[in-house]
Symmetry: C2
Subunit: 231 residues, 2 copies
């Protein structure tokens, strides 16, 4: 398939690129992800996923110890093992997807969401005519369509079986090598975009201060959390 052009917009600094898989219910988003994730894995990329759920959910298995902790009122419950880590947290509002990516997906090459169709994320619609008479109303955040029928004159189109081609498209447009040096800044939970000068200044100034501490001479990765309740 010839590579179609598309207008991927540049976003403010994010630790990992994010693309949203959207589509009407039962359009095949999860089924596509089940093929796309291993394909990106074969190409050597670490993929994380975020499922957006608008209702109350239970992720844990009833009867397990962690489930019992949560039922008893624990606000955060973690299950930690040598191969996996699970953390379930009570929240008071829907988490902005940018915050989730910054907090939990910093070491991923690509994050793919299921849902978030009303966000500003770049979107790929999954559509099957067999399941719905009409696709979603597209806007200028749409970057491609995966479908059993051609629904856009302008957007790149992939058939439902063109998983390798879709993976190559994501690599080309979304996965870029991570910056060798980088800094992310969250202030009161909101990501603050930094231009190159401010980013380098902060990164080098803080790294220099940390380097002056005992046993912190060659820090490759620094995470700092500050609380200023009163000044």
């Amino acid at each position: 398939m010839p590579e179609p052009q598309c207008n991927i917009r540049h976003h403010e600094f994010r630790p990992s690129p994010v693309v949203a898989l959207v589509g009407r219910p039962n359009s095949g988003k999860t089924t596509l992800l089940e093929q796309l994730i291993p394909e990106l894995g074969r190409l050597g990329y670490r993929v994380g996923t975020i499922k957006h759920h608008v209702h109350r959910f239970e992720m844990d298995r009833p009867g397990k110890d962690t489930w019992r902790h949560k039922q008893a009122g624990a606000r955060v419950v973690a299950l930690s093992s040598p191969t996996g880590l699970g953390v379930i947290r009570e929240v008071e509002r829907d988490s902005p997807v940018e915050e989730l990516v910054a907090r939990y997906f910093a070491d991923m090459d690509l994050v793919i969401t299921e849902g978030y169709k009303r966000s500003a994320l770049p979107k790929i619609e999954v559509y099957r005519r067999a399941a719905h008479p009409e696709p979603l109303p597209a806007d200028d955040t749409w970057v491609a369509v995966v479908s059993d029928t051609r629904i856009s004159e302008t957007l790149p189109h992939f058939d439902l079986v063109e998983v390798k081609e879709l993976a190559a498209f994501l690599v080309r447009h979304f996965i870029t090598p991570p910056p060798e040096n980088g800094i992310s800044l969250l202030v009161d939970g909101v990501a603050v975009p930094l231009n190159q000068f401010a980013g380098n200044f902060l990164r080098q100034a803080i790294s220099g201060m940390v380097a002056s501490l005992k046993n912190c001479g060659n820090a490759r990765e620094i995470t700092i959390h500050i609380r200023n309740e009163q000044e």
Copy 2:
């Protein structure tokens, strides 16, 4: 019950205090937690829990979309809703409990673990003679015992039903009001203890630099992540 004295050791800076509930299998750790968590909740404290598991585990429910993402090879899978957030992550080694607490429990008043009996955490043993002939071999990290029988001459003892008394003990010895100003520092995944001078210096210097950025004048909470791959 008269309040027994015990020798709680001071630990390096941690965002939240941690205590480990230990005991032989089937000694009643989870059952005690199910009563202790709501009791601490009634006293107004936010409790988080960590369950240590030495084998492979599955936290999600088979067949769910997030479970399918993980099966397909996603390294990190999140499920986000307005009331809850779940994150499941593939790891390559057992996570140090200090790192889990720093990363995921910074806003909790107390973290209680189930397990980690070989860690340096302060420990409370749960023991029922009905279940086991002998308690665990205690060391100097033991701070109390909850049991149907008195097993220590020196450690504070609580009966299995003395949940209110145990909660009061935890509040008195572990839950302290959070510092009004604080800073935590992780370097290459390891918490770096900071004395008061270094902590205040770093916190004020970084807060000052951030305050000079646009729209960041009154940051109450600052989180910074730095990657220095090459210098």
